[in-house]
Symmetry: C2
Subunit: 415 residues, 2 copies
């Protein structure tokens, strides 16, 4: 079965916001066997919306529409649904109650008449309760196509999708299984990989699809297949993935899965009752903020120091000045000393340290832009490396963050 996603809002088409809703919805639909055929972003314009609805209906069994549900007059999605389904807006008492509850819960002033306009919904729509906002979701099932309308605010959309939409999709549609497995590789370009696996790729069964996803020094290789028997499907993909993994054993670093690298580090450190600290210079807090963006890290994370100014590496962290003078501030020696001293300062078992030149200009060092030294100090000693991550500041920081977390995971897994 096929779905289409339509996002409505001028803010997307003028580039004022990035549409992250579509990726979230696509991923969640895929998990329950629904394939997304197309994603279309259009303006808050009646004729354009109607045209997109008509096009979507030709291909899709399920059309998920986000946006255009605000209480202000630039939002015209509901009225356009009425035009499309030859329906009228009627007041819905459940929505009225929900609005009152929300205003009470968040101790807001009395709802305004405009807030109650949110309770006007197409008469044929099934209302989906929005726990986090006044705009209700709507489920409209007609002529074998289901249209679902959701607010564009990501937080509200996600909650409605999980609590109201997906359970209904499971009941309403007969769906196959869709299975993806993605191998992460590091250090070889996509052409070189394609060259190496050419024979195997040629012999790949027609119902298994291979995709190459290059990004930031890595290539991800995704195998996808769709079928009605979950076990057979997963077995078929697993068998091909095993062969692929063997051919790329020297560059494979694992599979992409739901557990993030921080999640993996978190589980290992908690099991061992060990702790972590960081001393980040050139990554400027990017690593620690990636760690603290996940819940439950306070049980192992002691803290982090970002000695951005060179002098602070000695003053606060205690890196010997002669190391900086002898090897320069961007050196594996200084990175190692930073990591060891971070363990002392924070009283932790493991420490990550970074020092380098994120660019675009050189700092207090002769090193090339993009040079980053990373060290991981552990109870067994200290490991380090010097890397060059190119000349784009954002990419340098991002690659260094990935590399440092990879090095830490490797060290923790060893000990």
């Amino acid at each position: 079965m096929l779905a289409e996603i339509i996002t409505i809002g001028d803010e997307i088409l003028i580039g004022q916001i990035v549409d992250t809703n579509s990726a979230y919805i696509s991923k969640e639909l895929n998990k329950v066997g629904v394939k997304v055929y197309q994603i279309t972003s259009i303006q808050d314009d009646r004729d354009h919306i109607l045209q997109a609805f008509n096009e979507a209906k030709k291909h899709a069994d399920l059309v998920i529409v986000t946006g255009g549900l605000g209480p202000t007059r630039d939002d015209i999605t509901k009225q356009t649904f009425c035009d499309f389904f030859n329906d009228v807006l009627v007041e819905n008492s459940e929505v009225i109650e929900n609005i009152k509850e929300l205003f009470q819960k968040y101790q807001l002033q009395k709802p305004l008449p405009a807030n109650f306009q949110q309770a006007m919904v197409p008469s044929k729509a099934i209302v989906l309760k929005n726990l986090h906002g006044t705009a209700p979701g709507m489920w409209m099932d007609e002529d074998n196509t289901v249209f679902v309308s959701l607010p564009g605010v990501p937080y509200e959309m996600k909650s409605l999708l999980q609590t109201e939409v997906l359970p209904r999709v499971l009941k309403r549609f007969n769906r196959p299984f869709i299975f993806h497995k993605t191998l992460l590789t590091y250090g070889l370009g996509e052409s070189a990989i394609a060259d190496r696996i050419e024979k195997w790729e040629n012999a790949l069964p027609k119902d298994i699809k291979l995709a190459y996803l290059p990004s930031l020094g890595r290539v991800r290789l995704r195998l996808s297949s769709t079928g009605w028997d979950k076990e057979i499907l997963e077995g078929k993909v697993a068998k091909q993935m095993e062969t692929l993994h063997k051919m790329l054993d020297d560059i494979a670093v694992g599979y992409e899965d739901e557990t993030s690298i921080v999640g993996k580090i978190s589980v290992l450190l908690k099991n061992k009752n060990q702790s972590l600290s960081l001393a980040e210079s050139c990554t400027g807090g990017a690593i620690v903020s990636q760690i603290t963006s996940e819940a439950g890290v306070s049980s192992f994370l002691k803290g982090s120091i970002i000695p951005y100014e060179t002098a602070l590496k000695s003053k606060i962290l205690g890196v010997p000045q002669f190391l900086i003078d002898k090897f320069s501030v961007v050196s594996v020696e200084v990175a190692e000393s930073m990591a060891e001293n971070a363990n002392k300062l924070f009283g932790s078992d493991y420490a990550i340290a970074t020092t380098g030149i994120a660019g675009p200009t050189k700092g207090d060092s002769d090193a090339e832009v993009g040079t980053v030294c990373i060290a991981v100090a552990s109870p067994k000693g200290v490991e380090s490396g010097m890397f060059n991550f190119g000349n784009d500041r954002y990419r340098v920081i991002d690659k260094a963050t990935n590399k440092a977390l990879e090095m830490l995971l490797k060290e923790i897994s060893k000990n």
Copy 2:
């Protein structure tokens, strides 16, 4: 004139990546007077691509296509262009040279035959030189519609758009001016704002469009207009914006523009030759990493300490233990002490401090999840506030980061 953006790639439709290219392209096109009519994301499938090309041609003068240009066989965009334009692929010597140059520059091994397949381009296409990758951009002008094909890798796409595509768009098309001005407001919902400005909104000239963009405690109000005389256009929008700003004076915090809040802080601190440090507990490095993600901050940023474990707030930062015992670790008193001590530790003029409960569970405090105390210490003293940013970890950190930077900017602007 109208444009359409078509992004090709299964990875978008299964939600494996978020399409950030479209927002970037839309924004850049808007700046030169090109309105984006629709953004369409489709699969790596010949028939689907052809169908999208035919649809786009009906409305758009310019169609920008990204993705599907890799050297591997899942990438079929170029061949599909040939089918669409009744064309054939021919070898292009400029692309061959570019590939050789890139391999030499990045000291890679010898190019493989697959790499040289990138030099096969539709015979009618004008080749656009890609400085950062082997896939060339292409410009195909036929029957009054221009199709442009760009690689999907954001770094390569952006560079090609700036150096090759936009200059050609300026020459090829007669374009009006498009002008947006966005007022940022904080503290009032969109219904309440709509209620307050109703009369003015009713009287707004037909050619000026108002949009409400609610997000994370803020509402952005955007006025947009299109016209052929830049001065008249900007004057008309400015006049309406002035009236709007006056009506919302109590909640307006400024205009959205190209300069980020970090950029504004950066300029002010550099002009005054003053410095900044941070002590971030609950924001866990999110603020410092937002600052260090921008270039040129090392001239004013001393560093940051993230004392995630409560005990470290005393041990490293020197917050008196009695303050923590008396007021609890999540208190404005502790936040203020953290900020003042950060200035001492780092030798800086300004310091931001945060302490709070990002959630989902409570930490070493009785405070509600979402409570965040923020302090800014400056040469004139210390300012602080206690806030509740809700119960979603990601949103709490994000809102606290925005609020802290806002408070800092206010303090620096004052002094």
